[in-house]
Symmetry: C2
Subunit: 484 residues, 2 copies
């Protein structure tokens, strides 16, 4: 929210963050503290309540305000230590905060948990406990003559919003030569830059890998709309939520695998009516040589598990461009999975794509099974189709580019027509495409076979790894033969 005020909307509102001392053990705090100083957010005020007691006992630093000051100021913040029970000190600190500085300010307040109630004050064992009626009566008595009938209202701050004109234009047409393979991650970067005139609220955030995710294409075109978030994925997602709450459409990109690091922030964002697009590149074993640490193999599972999320997995540049546009239009959490290596162009520039759709790429009366792929495995399925066709064996091929919501109608039709279903995915078996299809067809009583990554992945050439994990054309052909 503070980034938005300073760099995008250029409005004078301030952002306040209330922090507990116990949660200063969390790394995400230090990500935010570091980045706020880097961006010189002199419109951001933190209020750190140092009451010494966590849920089950004392914090690491207790009441050592001096250490908190050293830590936080070493990260580039102005700090003001106060007695958190002294109204004059609190007022003076708020007045002093942000004055004549290009730094964010942290008020560090020494407080006593349960102050004023003798049997609770500074005592362990009361965290998150409700008082019994007689305890409550006693507490109120100790706090003085409490008039329980007093009611009032705290006036909300003015909600400053920028003046806004109409969209600045319409996107250029998609134009990829039909015979030149393009990595979908690059099509993502192209798409962001292409659609910006239509979506002027669009912002791009990237975790120090914009030359790999291709967010750099957008950055170069619209540097004012790009934020380098460095290798701090938790804070990147938190910042995206703030931007989204201020009316922006953040596209957040990093390697698919690295979103696992921010899964708590992704999970929590769903409860704040977010409008965030996550884009994970370098999905699956098909990234090749870089090895398992860099392979997104659980990303579909985590994003599917978010309530009302949309999960998209385009296989070529055209569908990527179209789906990035659909994601920008959609209000909510969208995840787009992109691929490192080049993939051939499958679709004409005017082919329509929609959230919840799919494409039937091969279909005939005599299909003996349906093979469902997305991303790299779709090409493996198409290769399997070609070699089986030579033997007179026909299979149906579906591009399941929308994994959630999934195109149940098309899946049911294929199940009923071809009697068996094979899913192929570059992802671990749980929570991925296989289980999405099984859930969609659970009441249909059709047998479903799933090919997925089931061995500890290695470093190698992409095709070698697809073969090793038995998710390539060879394994699809074997599975079809087995069914026959």
């Amino acid at each position: 929210m503070a980034l938005n005020a300073k760099y995008l909307d250029k409005l004078p509102y301030r952002t306040y963050v209330l922090l507990g001392d116990s949660e200063m053990a969390e790394g995400s705090q230090w990500e935010a503290i570091q980045l706020a100083a880097h961006y010189k957010l002199n419109n951001l005020i933190g209020v750190l309540d140092v009451n010494r007691l966590g849920q089950r006992g004392e914090t690491m630093l207790g009441w050592d305000l001096n250490v908190y000051e050293k830590m936080i100021s070493s990260f580039g913040w102005k700090t003001i230590a106060i007695d958190g029970h002294s109204i004059p000190e609190i007022l003076a600190a708020y007045a002093e905060a942000l004055l004549g500085t290009d730094q964010p300010t942290m008020l560090i307040a020494k407080t006593i948990k349960g102050k004023g109630v003798s049997f609770i004050e500074n005592k362990n064992g009361w965290h998150g406990k409700a008082l019994k009626q007689e305890e409550c009566d006693r507490a109120l008595k100790e706090l003085g003559d409490v008039d329980k009938s007093v009611r009032g209202e705290i006036s909300l701050p003015e909600d400053l919003k920028p003046k806004e004109g109409p969209p600045k234009g319409v996107p250029k047409k998609i134009d990829y030569p039909a015979d030149k393979p393009v990595p979908t991650r690059k099509a993502y970067g192209n798409a962001l830059a292409r659609i910006f005139p239509q979506f002027p609220h669009l912002v791009s955030l990237d975790g120090e890998v914009s030359n790999s995710t291709y967010a750099e294409i957008f950055k170069e075109a619209y540097p004012d709309r790009f934020f380098e978030m460095y290798i701090a994925e938790q804070n990147m997602v938190g910042a995206a939520l703030g931007l989204s709450r201020r009316g922006k459409i953040p596209f957040v990109s990093t390697f698919a695998a690295f979103f696992t690091r921010a899964f708590d922030q992704i999970r929590m964002s769903q409860y704040s009516d977010p409008n965030i697009k996550f884009v994970g590149s370098h999905a699956g074993v098909s990234i090749g040589e870089d090895g398992p640490s860099q392979m997104g193999l659980e990303d579909i599972a985590i994003f599917r598990a978010i309530l009302n999320s949309v999960v998209l997995y385009p296989s070529d540049a055209v569908s990527t461009e179209k789906l990035v546009e659909e994601a920008a239009k959609h209000d909510g959490i969208v995840y787009i999975r992109t691929t490192r290596s080049e993939t051939p162009i499958l679709y004409r520039p005017d082919e329509p794509f929609k959230i919840g759709g799919s494409k039937v790429l091969r279909k005939s009366e005599g299909d003996i099974a349906t093979v469902i792929g997305a991303g790299v495995t779709l090409y493996e399925a198409l290769e399997a189709y070609e070699s089986l066709k030579k033997e007179g064996i026909l299979i149906r091929i579906i591009d399941l580019y929308s994994i959630k919501p999934v195109d149940e109608t098309t899946l049911r039709e294929a199940a009923s027509a071809t009697k068996s279903i094979i899913t192929v995915e570059d992802h671990y078996p749980e929570g991925g495409i296989g289980e999405a299809v099984k859930s969609a067809l659970a009441a249909s009583a059709v047998p479903i076979y799933s090919l997925s990554v089931t061995k500890k992945p290695k470093s190698g050439k992409p095709q070698e790894l697809l073969d090793y994990e038995e998710i390539s054309r060879k394994s699809i052909v074997s599975k079809i033969r087995e069914l026959i």
Copy 2:
């Protein structure tokens, strides 16, 4: 590993950690730095390589070693700044590190990326790039007369291991009065303390919620084997991996929801042959009043997505005790999901439980459907059974306490005997019990219906929330009537 040397094995080995400057943006580093200082790990040496350049450009702090020193020393470390290309300075720093201090030491080394190769040195755009042959030839030439035939071996450090005796005894018998409900999270704490004599390598780590997860029962019995890890879940998982690599059996506990914060560390641990047990309490909407932020609703999905993981979800105190014991015996990653509220005792103390097992609790010839539950939903299924039985409708009930691996034999038998399956779970639909069952029965062509959490959860009484999400006895009964 350093915690292990200092507090458990009491061995004089040192632990070295190599750090890149770019990754100092990650919060997990600051979690580790904070905790290492708290535990006075004067056997731990960090080596921070400050080469200024990240993957796509300069880091936030560039070559400002002074700021790195301030930040790291403010967290309680001894720091030594050096020229990372000066062998004498490096040797002197290693000699000085840890001398006469009860702090960990960080060597902060200024380096030049690509030093000695004119076309790479201190230049952007070479991260992770392999040299072409002619570039390589040129680089070797610039580095001097490089003799490519030189081969050698770096001798490994002595692998110090503690002297070990046999297990100190056998666990006491399980003893829960059959008529007194117990929360499974409490049975978890009891179990840890009970089985320790049989598993002397057992260690407990908890994220500042040991009074909620009941790890405190173990902590009180064996304080030397318990580590308070504060609210820093990423580092807690990292530390568990280190302990596991030194032969310990770490049981890591926090709220089920909070493991989402450490999912990258959990994911990465799978590639280091880990032996770690994760225990998540406060699962599902059944926690009640605390609301969605505290509800574990994606935990089964994330732990199922780990290769070769085991996922257990006991419903009563007896099965919890047995499954904690099975988890301790099993070499690998195990996740145990526990419940906040009390649940009735279902099993006799001598009932056997195993990884990959299940229990058929109600079964007859005339069963018209099978209802599969685990944890809180198992009791809802049993209540549904009772009310349907009064009308002469019989259903089969399965306690699916082992979600991964899943008991395919029993599931297939039930599918074939009862013709339809209903799963009921206190978890989001994706990646949970429903999809585990669908995957197990994918080739069986039986219709499967799943009840799960599908509305944004609220705060309320546990039973109210189960009703609201349509995963209670009422919804099970309705679903059965619908099938009839």
